[in-house]
Structures are given as C-alpha cells and as structure tokens.
C-alpha cells in the first residue's frame, strides 16, 4: 500500500437485520471517499455479508418482480466498494472470521474476501492508522 492511511473496521451484524449494517457500509464508502485504505474484519454474523449465494427476489406486496425490485444485497455492496477502491488506487481488504464462517455454512464468498481469525483483527488494527469496532445488540 502507498503512504495513504489505513482504517480498520470490525463488524458483527449479519445482513438484513439491523440499521447498523447500513451505517457500517456508509462508513466504508466514506473512508474510501476520504482516500483511506480500508480493512474489514467481519466477526460473527457479519461473515454472511460477503456470502456469494445471496439472491434477489421480487416483492409481490408491492407488485414488483425480481428485476423491478432490484433488491439490495450486501455482497453487491462489497463488490461496489472494491471497485471504488480500485478506481482510486486504494486497498480494500475483507477478512471473515473463519470459525464464524464454518458455523454459519457461508463458506462461498465473493472474490476479494478472505478467511482468517482474531489474530488478523489484531494485525489489521496494529497496522492501521485507527480502528473502529461496531458491536451487535
């Protein structure tokens, strides 16, 4: 990485359950916008954010089919942020806690997301300019 600053984020929430997930992704986007490299340690439910088999669906209550509903998927948000990072020559790294992945069976993740453990969080935090952890409720 170049001399730009690295920010590490640790997160715990799975997709679709909490408003914290939205704020978290907004923070990642804002960090890239500010020219920071981003590193994410996904812990517990957050390992499902990168699950490659997330699927969109329609919304019969609102009369929208799959295409029209264009349902958000967090895996797509990750891919979008990876692309943004690349366009700005910034790093965007994502490590899932491996044991958390195993117990949830979400082993298939989108490209660019890896597997690790708590020592990686410590490494990420130690190498970063600063770290923000967002726990779950």
């Amino acid at each position: 990485m170049n001399d730009k600053k690295i920010l590490t984020f640790a997160f715990m929430d799975p997709p679709f359950e909490s408003e914290r997930t939205i704020t978290f992704f907004r923070l990642l986007d804002a960090a890239l916008e500010k020219g920071a490299h981003v590193r994410v340690f996904a812990y517990e439910g957050a390992v499902a954010l990168a699950f490659a088999k997330q699927q969109t669906h329609g919304n019969a209550v609102h009369g929208r089919d799959n295409a029209a509903e264009n349902h958000p998927l967090t895996k797509d948000w990750i891919l979008a942020l990876q692309k943004k990072a690349a366009s700005k020559a910034l790093g965007f790294e994502w490590i899932n806690c491996g044991l958390c992945v195993d117990e949830r069976g979400v082993n298939e993740v989108v490209d660019g997301c890896g597997r690790g453990g708590p020592p990686d969080l410590w490494r990420y935090a130690s190498e970063a300019h600063n770290t923000l952890t967002i726990g779950t409720r």
Partner: protein
C-alpha cells in the same frame, strides 16, 4: 488533552444505557478532553426539538459538540429546523475525519 468522538446509534427512548454513555461523555468533557457526539440511526431522535431527553439535553448544556447524521434525519423526516439548538447536521465523513485524525472513535 485527548479527542473523543462517540458514534451514538443508541437512543434514550429504548436503551437505558445511554444515560451512562452520556454521563461518560460529559465526564471526559469536564476533564478537559475534546468530546464530540455524532448521532446516527435512531440516535437522531433525541435531537428533535421537544424530545424529552434529560441526559442528552444535559450533554448539550455541557457544550459537547453534537452532529446529527443527515441521512438518518432524512429517513425520519427531521429537518434542520426541527432540531434542538446547537446541533449541527453532518455526514458520516465526520467520523472518518476523526479516525484519520487519530481521535478515539467509539461506537455506542
């Protein structure tokens, strides 16, 4: 002097822990540190004028800098004119600025 920024997602209407969280922020301010609070999510509901939020209001009176996240406000249809005095409207990039300035940034 240290710099603290609390990202306040919890609100006093549903989370009684906010009383202690705001007390701690006030203690740090009184100890001479620079303390800011960024309200996000339902945390912004405390910022609406007329909201009955004793502990939050005390923090405002202590002079802690409070910023309400514009996106969270817009979701709840709270305009800038609907806010209590001395609350600024901002974006989550304020949080990133604090991280980049190596402030202690803490999520509540």
């Amino acid at each position: 002097m240290s710099h603290y920024l609390f990202v306040q997602s919890q609100d006093g209407f549903t989370e009684t822990r906010t009383a202690q969280q705001f007390q701690l922020a006030g203690q740090l301010q009184e100890a001479g540190h620079n303390v800011s609070l960024v309200l996000v999510q339902n945390g912004v509901t405390q910022a609406r004028a007329g909201a009955r939020t004793e502990h939050f209001d005390r923090l405002l009176a202590q002079g802690v800098r409070v910023i309400a996240d514009e996106f969270s406000l817009r979701q709840r249809e709270i305009g800038a004119d609907d806010l209590k005095p001395d609350i600024a409207v901002g974006d989550v990039d304020v949080i990133i600025d604090a991280l980049l300035a190596k402030h202690k940034v803490i999520w509540n």
